[in-house]
């Protein structure tokens, strides 16, 4: 399983360069360029869906309380074609994720990149010309 995941991430890195993501709405309208975010937390759920998949993470604040954030990524089909499977991002995985918060002020954000504890990066695929892939 572990070997397979390593292989998947290699596939993901290569594929991310050539595969455009399939946004179905304007990310610029939904998210706020003035609210860049970077946070680390524990994955509570990966919602495998189209047109976009969602990663939910618990982020522990200064008061020690965990707050759940929803991060939007590329769609399930794009992830599938990059070699991801539903079970690959399991609950409990620690990730560092960055992107931009939604304009409506909810605990929702658009993922630009996802970094795993060992430093490997995974392009989230929300935006087709993401700086992280260039």
């Amino acid at each position: 399983m572990r070997t397979r995941r390593v292989a998947l991430f290699l596939v993901a890195t290569i594929a991310a360069i050539v595969l455009p993501a399939a946004a179905h709405h304007s990310f610029s309208a939904e998210y706020d360029s003035a609210k860049p975010l970077k946070m680390s937390g524990k994955v509570t759920e990966m919602r495998w869906a189209n047109p976009h998949a969602w990663i939910y993470i618990d982020v522990v604040g200064k008061d020690g309380k965990a707050v759940n954030w929803a991060w939007e990524t590329g769609g399930a089909n794009a992830l599938y074609r990059r070699g991801w499977r539903k079970e690959d991002l399991v609950a409990g995985t620690m990730i560092v994720i960055d992107g931009f918060q939604a304009r409506n002020g909810s605990r929702t954000a658009n993922a630009t990149s996802i970094t795993f504890p060992d430093g490997r990066k995974l392009f989230a695929g929300s935006s087709s010309q993401n700086p992280a892939t260039k």
Partner: protein, 520 residues
């Protein structure tokens, strides 16, 4: 006495032979490869979509005779209780929410569908919400590790019966309005047998070890419709227009201003009579047995960022840049009228993000369907070109020279008619409803839009695609985009969009907040 009974026997045998021969040969149309020809528009004449079992009428649910063979549906005990709960909560019916109906339910809804047949694929395009199914008859196995609302369909011929195994279902669809249901362990075997030219015997064996105690079967007839084509029932769009969630735009929607629209006489280059030259050939192209170019396959459009602006533009925050795909006018800028420029600027603001129809998961229209970053499958059954878009929508383009629909019939994807000019397929699309946007940044078309597309293969794996848009309500002249469609080795997956669309609520918040601020 003996002689006369022998005569009767002989005549009887002859009659039987004639009957059998006729019913086998004359009554069933066949394709060029000798298979039963299932192509045409089909529809059930039963009430199975309300309840697969015998039922009397209830509010909004007409009575009907059951289609389940050999007794009641064999639910496990827990599942029988769940079915009763479902029946009492019809608001939870996935169809009440315009979700994808799943298979087999889509087959016996009271909406017509069309079957297209090639040796490798059988495509079904449904009136209901532009749903489509592809039955792969090319021997490629179903993908693993993914599930779909509509399942995955792989077919084979057993004699004259098409047998389709449907797997990879999710657990979110029902069989009918009465709440009959299944789990993700559902598998189906469908059998399609033509009993005469206008009737298909349709049987489905349903297996789900999590929900039922044994496999069970439904059976019904599909009847050929006399309709020349099917229209659209865009379930979610109709619902949102009715409840006000999707607001009309009188500037662009049919009938809107300026209907009927006349094209200025000085506008040229829109219908193919002008000096259009085919693109340079870069290699040998594939051809059909009749010598026409073979455009069939799975393609990824290289949309050049057209979904974020048709002209050349830089990346702007999360809106990707684009190389510019406008080839006419030569300056690469959309020739918008003054009002349209202002309107496009307004549509670009965050509060208008909600108004883009694709943010609601409605179909993209023409030509946007061709450059959204999403793959498509082209089929070329006899007399048609069929385009299946992964973002659940389809275009079926007859090549028989028929006229367009009457002007007052307006559709999201319009009415497309095709013809070959040399090795270029020219597709003329009219009857558009003016509800679609050209892209996320709000570039505009109206109901006056008419589109002439040209599909020209330039080598075995590339189609040079051009679309000329003529819209005298919005533009000062016709304009043309060009982009390649690149053949890839892959299959379409399914984009169930509105079913899991979380973005629309955020975009609505942003719009509502902006409106509230303006009111203050």
């Amino acid at each position: 006495m003996r002689s006369s009974s022998r005569t009767i026997l002989v005549y009887g045998l002859m009659l039987a032979c004639v009957t059998v021969c006729c019913s086998r040969q004359a009554a069933i149309p066949r394709t060029a490869d000798g298979r039963p020809d299932l192509q045409g528009i089909w529809q059930v004449r039963n009430r199975a979509s309300y309840n697969l079992e015998d039922h009397v009428a209830r509010h909004g649910m007409p009575a009907g005779t059951g289609v389940v063979q050999g007794g009641p549906i064999p639910y496990q005990e827990w599942a029988a209780k769940r079915k009763i709960e479902n029946a009492a909560n019809r608001q939870n019916d996935p169809l009440a929410n315009c979700y994808l109906p799943g298979v087999p339910r889509i087959m016996y809804m009271e909406f017509p569908f069309q079957i297209f047949q090639t040796p490798d694929h059988i495509a079904m395009t449904f009136e209901w919400s532009q749903v489509h199914r592809t039955v792969y008859t090319n021997g490629v196995p179903a993908p693993e590790g993914i599930d779909f609302w509509m399942g995955d369909s792989r077919g084979r011929w057993e004699g004259d019966t098409l047998v389709v195994e449907v797997s990879d279902h999710n657990d979110r669809t029902w069989f009918d309005m009465a709440g009959n249901f299944h789990s993700e362990e559902l598998t189906l075997v469908e059998r399609y047998t033509m009993v005469n030219a206008d009737t298909i015997q349709y049987e489905v064996t349903i297996t789900d070890p999590k929900v039922f105690t044994r496999p069970w079967t439904i059976a019904m007839m599909l009847h050929r419709s006399e309709a020349a084509r099917i229209f659209e029932y865009q379930c979610q769009a109709e619902a949102e227009e009715a409840n006000g969630a999707f607001e009309p735009d009188p500037k662009t929607w049919y009938p809107g201003p300026g209907a009927p629209v006349t094209i200025p006489a000085e506008w040229k280059g829109d219908t193919g009579e002008s000096a259009w030259k085919p693109p340079a050939r870069k290699g040998a192209i594939r051809r059909m047995p009749d010598g026409k170019p073979d455009l069939q396959g799975y393609y990824m459009p290289d949309g050049g960022g057209g979904n974020y602006g048709l002209g050349k533009h830089e990346q702007d925050f999360l809106t990707p840049g684009g190389r510019g795909i406008i080839v006419d006018p030569p300056d690469g800028i959309l020739p918008m009228q003054a009002w349209a420029k202002l309107e496009a600027e307004d549509r670009k603001t965050p509060e208008r993000g909600y108004d883009d129809p694709t943010a609601h998961c409605f179909v993209a229209g023409v030509p946007r369907s061709m450059y959204v970053p999403s793959p498509l499958q082209i089929l070329q059954p006899p007399g048609h070109l069929v385009i299946l878009h992964e973002r659940m929508s389809w275009r079926t383009i007859p090549l028989d020279g028929r006229p367009h629909l009457p002007d007052h019939i307006r559709l999201w994807q319009g009415d497309s008619i095709g013809r070959w000019e040399g090795d270029t397929l020219v597709v003329d699309t009219a009857n558009l409803n003016g509800k679609t946007w050209l892209n996320e940044v709000g570039e505009i078309v109206s109901h006056a839009e008419r589109v002439v597309e040209r599909f020209t293969p330039i080598d075995a794996d590339t189609i040079h695609y051009e679309a000329t848009v003529t819209d005298p309500l919005v533009y000062t002249r016709p304009w043309t985009i060009a982009l390649p469609l690149n053949r890839q080795k892959d299959e379409l997956l399914e984009v169930a969009c509105h079913e899991d669309n979380q973005d629309l609520a955020h975009l609505k918040d942003i719009r509502d907040a902006a409106r509230a601020k303006r009111r203050k």
